[in-house]
Amino acid sequence: MKGLLAVAAAPCAVALVFAASGVVALTGDAPLVWPARPATLSEAMASRDQGEVLRQVAAGVSLDMRYDVYGVIRPGEHTPSTPLEAAIATREDYMFQLAVAYGAHLGPDNAQVLFCLADAAKATGIRDALKEKFGAQSCEGVRLPW
């Protein structure tokens, strides 16, 4: 009998854990194992989490505010950012375009900081797109958010 228990122990443990997680997932909002943790809009943006970005925007969260980002842009550090700045941290054009498409403000007043941030972060696609729209920007004396 000990031998049978040894063979069955690990698969039974895994089945039990994920069954409990499954019940909670089916009846509640999140599974027990690996549930989604709350994230700010900028954290979602920096994590390339397009779905979460859209969920928060649909819930009325502003795309033009600055939110805390912990551990995503720089491991173990708080780097408060606007969603557009967080998008630059991903170096992904589609993340930047997503924020703009859903209403993030992009104008002459914030183009310079974003251009310089994109240049510093080596987000070349985003930098070139900003250059095309607003012209080349001088980065001398520009204070970057992180």
């Binding site: 069955a8 089945a15 069954a19 599974p31 690996w34 979460e52 997503l98 498409a101």
Partner: protein, 472 residues
């Protein structure tokens, strides 16, 4: 019901099966409806007036595929979503989760447990079933339903029918399984292979009349498909596929193999078969060789290949031995059917290798693993005390690790599926929105529900997990 039977092996087997099924359902249900290969089918179903129209349209909406029941299922689920007040996510994802529950419970019913040794072997086999790399393909995606899952379920049901006591109802059910499967996916031919292999090995649940009926259906299908509809099958240069440590895209396939495609087809067939037995190559590609070359063999390779190699060795040990009556075990219906389905699934992969195409072989691999583990526990080899059972426990633990990986991968699939919706109905691309108001309403609802679902982004998943369960 007496307390003794409630605490007996049969009840334990069903309880464990239910636990596995609930865990699976919980993870599957939380994957949002995907956009790629699914939304177009749903949009088609939205304005189709009836199920019969869906069926008829499904007969002619492709030059190479005959899958009218895919259209019918989608239509029925859209109608169910309407009946639920527009909760299409509940209809589609609920159906997928329920289909997973059915497969797992059918597996438990098919093995037929009666002792505690059987229960231990079943627990091992369930870990093999759900831990197989071929299993995850049936649950990580849906187009908008997963037809590979449908085929595996009907194949298992056909095997259960073949091992039943028989009767005319069993014959009718077997023919129905074949018809439904053939009209769902081309891999439906596997249902006939299951029935024929089981009969060849002595399982007489499906009578010769029933087998004759199935053969007639298969012949009629072939005539209808080729002779009447003039459909061709997938061939060289239609899909990218693995090739040794790399891959070959369609144009490269044509450039390298158009003059003589035989080596390419042979590679795909052989590697697809090996993949079930060794968990490598994956989709025709020896990713382990690539990882080795890059100096980064992560634990996932050792766990997957090690557990598969040892389980394959266990099945080989079983098949080459004798049962209590002295009969060679390779004649056992489980072994004969597994080998047949392995071969048939590999042949179906001739044009390109894909884990999903061999998913039914993975299910029968788990069935064979059950028979082998049971025999190993009943009559272990004469090794030093406890060594044989310890080895099986170690292999079982490795499969449990893989089993947990299935849930990890489904979290990633949920993230991918939800992310896809960001590209749909973009406010800045209104010209690309569906022009039809009903289609627009349905797509809007699908997007809203997918976005509202909370899923875990990869950045929140444990970093170490990627090396144990990640893509390879």
């Amino acid at each position: 019901m007496p307390l003794r039977s409630l605490l007996g092996p049969r009840a334990a087997a069903w309880a464990i099966g239910l636990l596995v099924a609930i865990g699976l359902a919980g993870s599957v249900y939380r994957i949002p409806i995907q956009v790629s290969d699914a939304l177009e089918t749903i949009e088609r179903a939205v304005n189709t007036p009836s199920v019969s129209t869906s069926f008829v349209k499904g007969l002619r909406n492709s030059a190479s595929m005959l899958r009218p029941l895919r259209e019918v299922r989608t239509k029925l689920l859209v109608d169910a979503g309407d009946a639920l007040g527009g909760r299409y996510d509940v209809a589609f994802r609920g159906y997928h989760a329920l289909a997973g529950v059915v497969l797992v419970l059918l597996f438990v019913g098919t093995v037929g447990v009666s002792t505690w040794t059987d229960v231990a072997a079943l627990v091992f086999a369930l870990a093999v079933l759900t831990g197989m790399h071929t299993f995850s393909g049936m649950f990580r995606e849906a187009y908008p339903t997963n037809h590979f899952l449908t085929i595996s379920t009907y194949a298992l049901a056909t095997f259960a029918l073949a091992r039943s006591r028989g009767g005319w109802l069993v014959d009718v059910a077997a023919v129905a399984c074949l018809v439904i499967s053939l009209l769902t996916l081309e891999s439906g031919v596997l249902i006939f292979a299951v029935a024929a292999a089981a009969a060849l090995a002595g399982a007489r649940g499906i009578s010769y009349k029933g087998l004759g009926g199935m053969a007639a259906v298969l012949a009629g299908y072939a005539l209808f498909r080729v002779g009447y509809l003039g459909l061709h099958t997938a061939g060289l240069g239609e899909h990218a596929t693995g090739w040794w440590a790399g891959s070959v895209d369609p144009s490269e396939q044509l450039a390298r193999f158009a003059a003589n495609p035989f080596p390419f087809y042979t590679y795909n067939v052989v590697m697809s078969g090996i993949s079930v037995l060794l968990s490598q190559p994956t989709a025709g590609r020896w990713t382990v060789a690539q990882a080795w070359q890059e100096g980064g063999l992560s634990p996932v390779f050792f766990v997957e290949m090690g557990s598969s190699a040892l389980t394959t060795a266990l099945i080989a040990w079983y098949a080459l031995g004798h049962d209590a009556s002295g009969r060679r075990r390779w004649r056992d219906p489980v072994v004969v059917t597994f080998v047949t389905i392995l071969g048939a699934s590999a042949i179906l992969s001739w044009a390109y290798a894909k884990n999903e195409i061999i998913s039914t072989a993975g299910v029968f691999y788990a069935l064979a693993a059950y028979a082998a583990a049971r025999a190993w526990l009943l009559q272990p080899p004469r090794w030093p005390a406890g060594a044989a059972v310890t080895l099986l426990a170690a292999v079982s633990t490795a499969w449990a690790v893989r089993d947990a990986g299935l849930h990890f991968k489904m979290r990633q699939s949920a993230f991918d599926a939800r992310s896809e919706w960001a590209r749909e109905l973009k406010p800045t691309e209104r010209e690309r929105w569906p022009a039809d108001p009903r289609q627009l309403a349905v797509v809007s609802r699908l997007k809203a529900d997918a976005i509202a679902a909370r899923v875990t982004p990869p950045v929140q998943l444990p970093q170490w997990a990627e090396s144990w369960w990640g893509e390879r």
